[in-house]
Amino acid sequence: MIAYNHSSLENLLTRKETEKAYRKGYISEAEKENIYQAYPVSFYTPNIFVRIGLFILTVVIGLFTLGLLGLLFMNQVEDVIGGLTVFFGLLNYAALEFMVKRNHYKSGVDDALTWISGISIVGGLNILTNLSWQTNSIIIFIVSVFLCARFINIAMAGVAGISVIAFIFLSFVRLGEMAKALAPFVVMITSAMLYLFAAMKMKDQNWKHYGNGLVILSIVALISFYAGGNYFVIREISIALFGLRLQNGENIPFAWLFWLLTFLIPVLYIVRGIQIKDVVFLRTGLALTAATILTVRYYYDLLPLETAAVIIGTILITVAYVLIKYLHEPKHGFTYKIEEGPNFDEKLQVESLIIAQTFTQQPKPDDGFQFGGGSGGGAGASGEY
């Protein structure tokens, strides 16, 4: 199923593990070189910046090829544009297969071609006929699963996850009023199953090349599980999609249950993440805590924004400070130290740029920078060496 050279993929995995062990200082450079010699990889995978460049340039080529095709049929462009776009998508797919045969692997070229062919095929079909949301979601699901399976594209795994949940949701709510009321639970059950699927396959040796894709899939599943029970999502979807009309003071059915879920799920994620030492659970839980705070703030003005910011900021600083102190020496298998050393300099560079960007972009109503054309903006090149 996978388009890339199989033995190179296998050897790449070995090399990656070796690199990790080398960075941690468990094996010597000679041993590393030895293993690299014994496990050759024929792929062309350039540096990340070159990859970005190749991606952009491939998109440029794609866009102007489509433009050229459009120019050729200029007089009847409105009649043929749909078919033309689908044809263009297939053309890109052929190019993709060709480039993969020439050993391009995560080179930017194959990434770009995957996206262009997927988007043009789905987009072209939409121009050709009027497709419903439901049909669209199933088409997107099929295309993304295929592209993910054949080209190990990790983002496509996420797209596939979102589209399958969307398809089940859209199909289910067609069944009637009762189904609409149960839709949140259907979404949650689907997401849970999706997560279990990803977790199961992550342990499966036959699926080892899809590791990162499965991580993305599990993140998508965790987020949609939360969204399925989130008060804001349910209330707004009921109003926008199902035409629910709430009078003043009226609430959605089972509001208490959804509020409970909104609060409970992030906490459970964080607890679970710490329990099994799982980064996906932990980070998703932390991010969703912010979502819960925003949900509460959307409906209840408990505190003025700035007071809330001060209180939450103080809590965060305290928590972080206490934990950093506590984990100064590793405890219970947790540490504050960075796992691997070498990339530290790069991280520092990026961090400094982020600081300059965010801190100077804040609104500062109490100081008067109103001169010289400058608005006191920050620095923000997206770069490191």
């Binding site: 041993e31 340039l57 102007f64 910011a309 300059a356 804040q362 609104p363 054309g373 920050g378 090149a381």
Partner: protein, 325 residues
């Protein structure tokens, strides 16, 4: 790490018994790093706290009174600076690690409060009168001093931003097109001079080994500023745009050499994309003056496809060259 894989490597004789033992021992006692999570929480906390406080002060200005606020800011700022002076490790022209986790954030807070303080007294009491330059110039000096004295890259970026604000423009690449009106000749010239200056400082920093790790920040700011200014000049001064194009070429040539020297893929990508923008502008302009009808459009499409293919080949070749260099 995958135990069975290393077992296989061990059996094949690629791995010494000692190394294999180390890996197995590590797998049993693997530590789970919370560094990223805790740092993010800390950073968010500082952001929320300072943001919330400044709005709070702004809203309650009638009841608190300006002197009280100024006093509070001054005291907090002084407190933070005193902490930094006490805790800091001895100065060195090489890189100095920060003594603890909180240090970097306290220093950042001190510097931000100082900027706020200067801005505040100018806004409220007009201390510097019409000499607006001073209002940015003084914080800039302090920021540069702190960046070097305490060795803080983030403060250095702030200082450079402040330098540019002082020179009359803002340099955030994200903001640069939004915030600035590039039709003004003086701004373009200032940008070019400033960019060139920053690049020079970057080179001097590297050669003199004075905080060598600062060099990248200077060069990066300078490079973006130079390219954006010269490209803006090309688009603005239409009658002599070819002259400015030559300038773009020269700058690109310089950074090409730099990229080779520093083996920097990042510089390579940035210079390629800026240069490509410039070349496309020139080619399209000439193309549409010579063939102003539909044929020109066809040729433009062919040009873009062809040039992108050429550039892809160039980048692939350069990737090899930098890797083996």
């Amino acid at each position: 790490m995958n135990n069975s894989l290393f077992e296989k490597l061990n059996e094949e004789g690629h791995l010494s018994a000692a190394s294999y033992g180390k890996i197995r021992a590590n797998n049993k006692a693997a530590l789970f790093s919370l560094h990223w999570e805790l740092t993010t929480i800390l950073y968010l906390g500082v952001l929320l706290l300072t943001g919330g406080l400044s709005v709070l002060v702004y809203k309650n200005i009638d009841t608190i009174g300006h002197q009280a606020i100024l006093l509070f800011i001054a005291l907090t700022c002084a407190g933070c600076f005193i902490y930094c002076f006490k805790k800091k490790l001895p100065f060195s022209t090489a890189k100095v690690e920060s003594p603890n986790v909180a240090f970097d954030y306290v220093l950042l807070l001190a510097c931000l409060l100082f900027i706020t303080f200067i801005g505040y007294i100018q806004f409220q009491y007009n201390v510097f009168g019409e000499r607006f330059g001073l209002v940015t110039f003084i914080p800039m000096l302090v920021l540069f001093f702190c960046a070097y004295f305490f060795d803080h890259l983030g403060i250095l970026s702030l200082a450079i931003t402040n330098l540019c604000a002082w020179a009359g423009i803002t340099v955030a690449p994200l903001e640069i097109l939004k915030a600035n009106d590039f039709n003004s000749n003086t701004i373009i010239i200032t940008g070019i001079l400033l960019g060139a200056g920053l690049v020079c400082v970057g080179v001097l920093t590297r050669i003199n080994e004075l905080k060598k790790h600062f060099a990248f920040t200077y060069t990066n700011f300078g490079m973006h500023l130079l390219f954006i200014s010269t490209l803006a000049a090309m688009f603005t001064f239409e009658n002599i745009y070819l002259l400015w194009f030559v300038a773009v070429l020269l700058i690109a040539a310089y950074f090409y050499r730099e990229a080779l020297r520093a083996k920097s893929f990042y510089f390579l990508l940035v210079l390629t994309l800026y240069l490509y923008t410039g070349v496309c502008f020139v080619v399209l302009r000439i193309l549409f003056t010579v063939i102003p009808d539909i044929g020109g459009l066809y040729l433009a499409c062919f040009y873009f496809i062809g040039s992108a293919v050429v550039l892809i080949r160039f980048l692939i070749k350069m990737n090899k060259k930098l890797k083996s260099a």
